[in-house]
Amino acid sequence: MDFPILSTLIFLPLVSSLFIFLSRGQKNNNSSIYISLFSSLATFILSLFVWYSMDYTSPNFQFLEEQSWINDYIKFKLGVDGISILFIVLTTLITPICIISCINSIQDRVKEFLIAILILETFMIGVFCSLDLVVFYLFFEAGLIPMFLIIGVWGGSRRVYSAFKFFLFTLLGSVLMLVAIISIYWITGTTDVTEIYEIKIPKEYQNLLWLAFFSSFAVKTPMWPVHTWLPDAHVEAPTAGSVILAAILLKMAGYGFLRFSLPMFPIASDYFTPLIFTLSIIAIIYTSLVALMQDDMKKLIAYSSVAHMGYVTLGIFTFTKLGIEGSIFQMISHGLISAALFLCVGVVYDRMHSRMISTYGGLVNYLPKYSFLFVVFALAGLGLPGTSGFLGEFLVLTGTFQKNYLVAMLATFGVVLGAAYMLWLTKRVIFGQVKNDQIKNLKDVNKCELLILIILAILVIFFGFYPAPLMETLNVSVDNLINNYEIAIKTN
């Protein structure tokens, strides 16, 4: 196709943010909200169109775009395959949801907030579209700027500390990746991902390069022990910021493992599997235990995110079809569920201005619609069969059993812990006695909140019963990934 559809997808939010920037500042920010909502929905529809018109039966990258960029040797190359398109659609879906959610929750500097969200969307789509390491790095790092501002300007009381920690942790992880990217260029003579797949990086370089990429992705995933920035960032970020952080930014690392670490360094990936397994198991069990002890709702969900991302890394490094498909599915489903949970916390936070679990209790008596939705998402979060959360974890665990019994046993233990903290959270917040008189005056969810939560709930349940649309998209690309991996291991 000649029309540069992926560039349009990437730069549409950026252009519309420019319009918002130029639009006249009014007392009510209706025009900016409409522009941003319209453009993000247009981006969403465009991404659905890309998904629809893709050929799932081909493992090749599609909608390729190439433009000579840096000195004719590094190309601005874009393309999608069955794996990346799902993340793109997730990004474009979550962004309008965030924009709707901020109508209620952001009062101050709305225009700037919308600009930051849209610019962030551009960078996030760019990460999932890029087929060149330098382009990927550019988008991957550029996302730090808007997110830093979102946490720092609109965040809670310890926002400065959290924003700095987020920025510096991620930057520190990423600089080694930059060294690795440039080294790959000098080893292979290109930074084009598809060409590197063909060339195959020599064995002696793979381990170091893999570690350099790992340092970046481990921080971003986040994996234990470099996960500590995440709870801080989540707690202090405004609702929309937490949603984007949990739903999309964390997925960049998982995507990075699939797109770069696995196919480019198969031998090193195999070599470091025990490391990943160990860290994942620690993440699953340790952070689940930590989540049990939290008295801040956002922190609890943040730690549960770390645990869920533990399943993702576990699944990817089983190198089995079930494991990898499961972890991709888990990422999509976690994107929906954690987004919904943060939105749920945001709903009561906007009314009570407290995230403490002890503030609440017995919400079901006064906020029935809210409580129903909250329980749905909490159950999805703990992986109840019939929700998308179950399928992801189930596939990952099945994949792990094929590879290593002990690891699978330990990971399964994490499922129990997940149920424990989620149910306990629900019990303390939704059920129980009403301890706080203010709760009696609370209003139930309004139309905007209801709309976005119901959309998410439908998706979570739909994919829980009928995952085929996602799986069919993934199927060939994952097969191809595993084939190439096995060939590389055999020839070694």
């Binding site: 790092e141 550029a142 830093f148 300007v153 510096l168």
Partner: protein, 471 residues
């Protein structure tokens, strides 16, 4: 020989114009505005003359003066950056009552000195150019002579700089003694690793040059001079002499010292790493923006030197690209400072920036872009500058240099973020007077525009710089 004088046309034009406007200044009272505008005109005309001249390599005066693409590029960079620095600071100069007619004239004189530095092909001519530049800078540093800080910074700069010039001159004489020539090409033929005396000479010359570009461990003057001198002079110091200094460093590696590159390289690697680390660490505690920018400029010179340290053409090219982008960023940063006027005073503490994002959103976002670019965060121009340097460094497999360099960018990101934090996150709101300084706004706008759109066509500078090293 005289029919070749057109090679020297820019220098001749500049010299004659300086003398003429000096006369105007002497005979007409209160002629600051006139002379200031004439100086800008002279700069523009000189740019035009250089653009008109050919880029073929030609040497004159017993091969002691070269005109080639390399020197022409640096001359234009020096002229354009001076033009922006000078014009964006005009209101500042008037407000601070340092509007003496000598001011622009001395700047032109220092430009003339730098012209000879970048064009010289002979130690003596090089030294004369360097001294003309340095003497002008001493006067500029203390131009606000009623102000104690300014005088102090002038004296400090003079004493330390004279010492380094002495070392440099000693190195030059050693070089002459051991090679028997003052011409770069002849020296290059004579030098070899066995010539220990010449290696000594090289070290002394390097010390002098490192002082001029304020690289660690010869950086001590920088923070004090930057803080003490009036901001308009500081911005000149931070931009223009650095360009000339780096050009000379590269030139020394290209011609006279090309045979003893390995010895020279180890020293530059050390200086580069030390500058990057000190620039990153020492800036953290600073409260004054000018002082902070001083340390940041030390760090940036460290990155540019990392490119020079590779000892190959692609490394020099990356250093030139780096310094060009550095110039753009610093002109933008200093122009922002000219817009921070309150109660007739220009603010220069970081805490004075508190919450300006609410009252001055455009200024705040410009500052934000420039600072992120200085920190080297993509997709801004500063990232590409670092990218090119480290690509060249890694091509030579200098992994330690690259990793240390990139780790220091993380540390330095911290203090840039601290300023952004003050601008965006702090609650108490300070508002500044709406500035009438249109040119400063224009330079901020141009600087941000370039940094922001650089990623669309990032090889534009490289293609230009590629042509400089063809010979």
């Amino acid at each position: 020989m005289l029919n070749n004088l057109n090679i020297l046309l820019p220098e001749i034009f500049l010299t004659l114009s300086i003398f003429s406007i000096l006369m105007i200044g002497v005979f007409i009272q209160n002629s600051f505005n006139l002379i200031f505008n004439l100086s800008s005109l002279i700069i523009l005309l000189t740019v035009a003359i250089i653009l008109n001249s050919s880029n073929n390599e030609e040497k004159i005066f017993l091969e002691s003066f070269t005109r080639d693409a390399f020197s022409n590029f640096f001359k234009i960079l020096i002229l354009l950056s001076s033009l922006f620095v000078l014009n964006s600071s005009k209101n500042f100069i008037l407000d601070n009552k340092i509007a003496k007619f000598e001011y622009p004239i001395i700047i032109l004189l220092s430009i003339l000195g730098m012209f000879f530095m970048v064009s010289s092909n002979d130690i003596i001519l090089f030294y004369l150019g360097l001294e003309l530049q340095s003497l002008s800078l001493y006067i500029l540093a203390s131009i606000d002579r009623d102000n104690l800080r300014s005088s102090e910074s002038g004296i400090k700069y003079f004493v330390l700089s004279a010492l380094s010039s002495g070392l440099l001159l000693y190195g030059c004489s050693l070089l002459y003694g051991f090679t028997g020539s003052t011409n770069f090409d002849l020296i290059s033929n004579e030098l070899s690793k066995e010539n220990t005396g010449a290696v000594f000479a090289m070290v002394f010359i390097l010390v002098g040059l490192a002082f001029k570009v304020s690289a660690v461990p010869f950086h001590m003057w920088t923070p004090d001079v930057y803080e003490g001198a009036p901001t308009s002079i500081t911005s000149y110091f931070a931009v223009v002499p650095k360009v000339a200094g780096l050009a000379v460093l590269i030139k020394f590696m290209l011609i006279p010292f090309s045979n003893i590159l390995a010895e020279w390289q180890t020293i530059i690697i050390f200086i580069s790493i030390a500058s990057m680390i000190l620039g990153a660490v020492a800036a953290i505690g600073q409260k004054n923006i000018k002082r902070l920018l001083a340390y940041s400029s030390i760090g940036h010179i460290g990155y540019a030197l990392a490119g020079v340290a590779t000892g190959v053409i692609s490394g020099y090219e990356s250093a030139v690209v780096y310094i060009a982008i550095y110039v753009i960023m610093n002109i933008g940063a200093f122009s922002c400072l000219y817009l921070l006027k309150k109660d007739g005073q220009y603010k220069e503490n970081i805490s004075d920036l508190s919450g300006i994002s609410k009252k001055h959103p455009i200024l705040a976002i410009s500052f934000l872009l420039i600072l992120f670019s200085l920190a080297g965060i993509p997709p801004l121009g500063g990232f590409f500058a670092k990218f090119y340097v480290f690509t060249a460094v890694l091509e030579q497999k200098m992994y330690a240099l690259a990793i240390i360099g990139l780790l220091t960018t993380v540390i330095s990101a911290f203090y840039y973020l601290k300023i952004i934090k003050t601008i965006y996150f702090d609650d108490n709101v300070i508002s500044f007077e709406p500035s009438k300084n249109r040119f400063a706004k224009l330079s901020v706008f141009i600087s941000c525009g370039i940094l922001l759109t650089f990623f669309l066509y990032p090889s534009i500078l490289n293609n230009l710089v590629d042509t400089l090293f063809l010979n």
